[in-house]
């Protein structure tokens, strides 16, 4: 498997976990720890996919998603929302914001990889 994935996550341990998982599955990883960085990395790093934590300091994950999706240069990048909020209807909110898929914390590694690989088919 290959591909460049932007991981947006403010929690250090979770960021580390995601990074390790993705590296273990042979993806390349760039990182951002807040919304502003996320938008910047999406433009500059040109990732193939973004995993976006929704609860971010400053610009929230939802706002960052909207910015990325409203930018013609980054619009095509699939975004998988990762939420810790178990509130019902959260998935609908993130899909409306422009996310392409939704995974809630805590997540099962296999299921996460399954979702990512569905957006990044092997060349």
């Amino acid at each position: 498997m290959s591909g460049l994935i932007l991981v947006v996550e403010d929690d250090e341990k979770t960021l580390k976990l995601l990074r390790d998982i993705l590296l273990a599955f042979s993806y390349k990883v760039i990182e951002a720890t807040d919304g502003k960085q996320a938008v910047k990395q999406a433009i500059e790093g040109k990732p193939d996919l973004i995993t976006m934590d929704m609860q971010l300091p400053g610009i929230s994950g939802i706002d960052a998603t909207r910015m990325i999706k409203s930018n013609p240069g980054t619009r095509h990048i699939p975004i998988i929302a990762i939420t810790a909020d178990a509130m019902k209807g959260q998935d609908r909110v993130v899909i409306e914001a422009g996310c392409d898929a939704h995974v809630s914390k805590p997540f099962d590694i296999d299921k996460l990889i399954e979702k990512i690989s569905s957006f990044l088919p092997d060349d």
Partner: protein, 618 residues
């Protein structure tokens, strides 16, 4: 009976009593007094007539005396000189003296001269023969030589009116004797004389012989007592006439005649008239005073009472205790009104206090709701915050388990497995606590839709089927034939949660080889779902607490993964959200148990609306 009618009756009764009493007083005191006066007057009249007759007798006696005590008469009775008769005893003597009878009797008792004369016819008539009989017999009329006394009175002769007689001895002009004979003058006391007497005295007079009077029927009730010679009897004969009677003695001092008078009862009439006038006047006064009393009572009391009653009724009907009664004056009614006002004011204060308390309660309720909401938000926040570290724990443990960083030894693998199981348990707890908090805060909104009963139950069973089979249990489903194709309106996710919670419990507490039977049927108009097992059963004490939060059935068997203690509690809340009931039946430890719950079939829409209201925090 209203007070108005009562007071009118009382007034009428009072005045009627006054009238009756007055009538009695007038009738028996006044009228009796008047009757006494009337009797007295009549008696006086009788006496007056009696006296008048006596006066007439005296006059006649004087006339007789003029002739008896006269020398010419003295000589005549002795020498019987006819010239005396020719000169003196002419017709004019009879007419002037109104005499009907003149008798000259000498000392030997021989009538020297006798003549009877009819004054109306102006002619001589025969001297009644009975007169001669009586004179010869009655010595009192014949005067002896020594006699100087006068005898006068009535002589009763059959066939003639009573004759008023005066008999005198004949003496000289200087009243010296001896007496040479007797001179008798007589006057017929006939109807003409009675009329005269009536005219003089203005009294209707009758003169009846005692014999006739006592034998006549009409006077049967009148009895003169023999002893009292001067007795006067007064007797009203009717309302118009009163009569009086007395006995008049004849010349022999015997009861000879009865003098009767008749008088109109003018005093009695006047009395009766007066009584009538008095009664009419008093009646009028009573009526006037009665009317005034009624009007005054109406004005002062009744109409005000009525107004008071109306006002109180209006206040009572409207329920507006802020209303007040107008009080004028200082009487009992005003005082009643004032007291009602005080009562109303007191009620007003109570109501104000109640509404103030209600406001406080409202505030308290809102505060409690806010606190509950804050709790939910806190739990929601905690849940979120807990998930983040849990994500790292679970994910990293999974990475270790998947051996990406090398093979683990046996102990390491065991610990990683334990970490994953504990994390999973912790996650369940977090999820259930959050669910419960949301339900209790009314924050969950049911997503009601129509589903087939068979599909709902089937899909729920499918989720746990694998676990059951893995444990070696027989999991069967029995849906009543008539509802196989029936739909029910529920929140699918919630319904499944109920089913899974109940079935998971059954699987967990039933030993391998046991049975779990899921049934569904319509009972009493509701869908009743039952999950029965052959598991460890539940004691009666535990059955009471089993739906409480965090209650866990004691399990003697080790090695079972612990539950959250919230599954049944959640199931109960969810069933209640569907307007259903949940209960457990178990014959005791070791005898299996059966959890049942109901779902309303036709109130789906209402359930939806009801929970929407809850969701809005109402």
């Amino acid at each position: 009976m209203t007070i108005r009618s009562k007071s009118i009756v009382a007034i009428v009764l009072t005045f009627t009593c006054i009238l009756v009493t007055l009538f009695m007083i007038c009738r028996f005191l006044l009228l009796n007094n008047l009757i006494a006066i009337e009797t007295q007057n009549t008696r006086q009249d009788v006496e007056r007539i009696e006296k008048t007759i006596g006066y007439i007798t005296t006059n006649l006696a004087h006339a007789t005396a003029d002739w008896a005590y006269w020398d010419d008469t003295y000589n005549f009775i002795q020498n019987k000189d006819p010239s005396y008769i020719e000169t003196n005893l002419v017709e004019s003597t009879f007419t002037d003296l109104e005499l009907n009878l003149i008798l000259f009797i000498d000392k030997d008792g021989i009538a020297v001269y006798s003549k009877a004369f009819d004054l109306d016819l102006k002619k001589e008539i025969q001297v009644p023969s009975e007169v001669w009989t009586q004179i010869s017999e009655g010595n009192t009329l014949i005067k002896s030589a020594s006699s100087t006394s006068e005898t006068s009175g009535f002589l009763l002769v059959d066939g003639f009116p009573p004759i008023l007689l005066v008999s005198l001895p004949i003496l000289t002009s200087d009243d010296t004797g001896p007496s040479q004979g007797t001179l008798i003058f007589g006057r017929f006391f006939d109807a003409k004389n009675l009329d005269q007497l009536s005219n003089i005295t203005s009294v209707s007079i009758s003169l009846t012989t005692y014999k006739d009077f006592t034998s006549r029927n009409g006077y049967a009730s009148i009895n003169f007592s023999a002893k009292n010679e001067n007795e006067i009897i007064i007797k009203p004969i009717n309302d118009d006439t009163i009569t009086g009677y007395t006995v008049i003695h004849d010349v022999y001092k015997n009861a000879g005649l009865v003098l009767g008078i008749e008088l109109p009862r003018s005093i009695y009439h006047e009395g009766q008239k007066s009584i009538t006038y008095i009664l009419i006047s008093i009646s009028s006064v009573c009526v006037v005073f009665g009317l005034i009393a009624v009007i005054e009572a109406e004005k002062q009391g009744l109409s005000r009472l009525k107004r008071l009653a109306n006002t109180v009724e209006r206040i009572a009907n409207s329920g507006k205790i802020s209303g007040r009664i107008s009080t004028v004056g200082k009487d009992e009614i005003s005082s009643l009104g004032a007291n009602i006002n005080r009562m109303l004011a007191s009620m007003q204060r109570s109501e104000d206090a109640i509404s103030e308390r209600a406001e406080h309660l409202q505030v308290a309720v809102v505060e409690a709701q806010l606190a509950n909401q804050a709790k939910t938000e806190f739990l929601s926040g905690v849940s979120h915050e807990l998930r983040t570290p849990l994500t790292a724990i679970i994910g990293m443990a999974q990475l270790l388990q998947k051996k990406y960083y090398g093979v683990l030894n046996e102990k390491q693998s065991e610990y990683v497995q334990d970490i994953l199981e504990s994390s999973s348990h912790l996650l369940s707890l977090i999820n259930d606590v959050l669910d419960l908090a949301k339900i209790e805060a009314g924050k969950t909104k049911l997503e009601m839709d129509q589903y087939s009963i068979r599909e709902l139950i089937g899909s729920s069973v499918l989720i746990v089927k694998e676990n059951a089979v893995k444990k070696g249990l027989h999991l069967t489903v029995e849906i009543a034939e008539e509802i196989l194709n029936q739909n029910v309106v529920v929140d699918k996710r919630r319904f499944r949660q109920i089913m899974i919670n109940l079935m998971s419990n059954s699987i967990k507490f039933t030993e391998p080889g046991g049975k779990v039977v899921v049934t569904a049927a319509i009972k009493r108009g509701v869908l009743e779902v039952g999950i029965a097992d052959t598991g460890i059963g539940i004691s009666p004490e535990e059955q009471e607490k089993i739906f409480d939060a965090f209650y866990q059935v004691y399990s003697g068997t080790t090695g079972k993964s612990p539950g959250t203690g919230l599954g049944l509690s959640l199931a109960k809340r969810l069933v209640e959200q569907h307007d259903g009931k949940i209960w457990v039946e178990s014959e005791g430890i070791g005898k299996g148990s059966c959890f049942s719950f109901t779902i309303s079939l036709n109130l789906a829409k209402q359930v939806s609306e009801g929970s929407e209201k809850k969701a809005l925090g109402e």
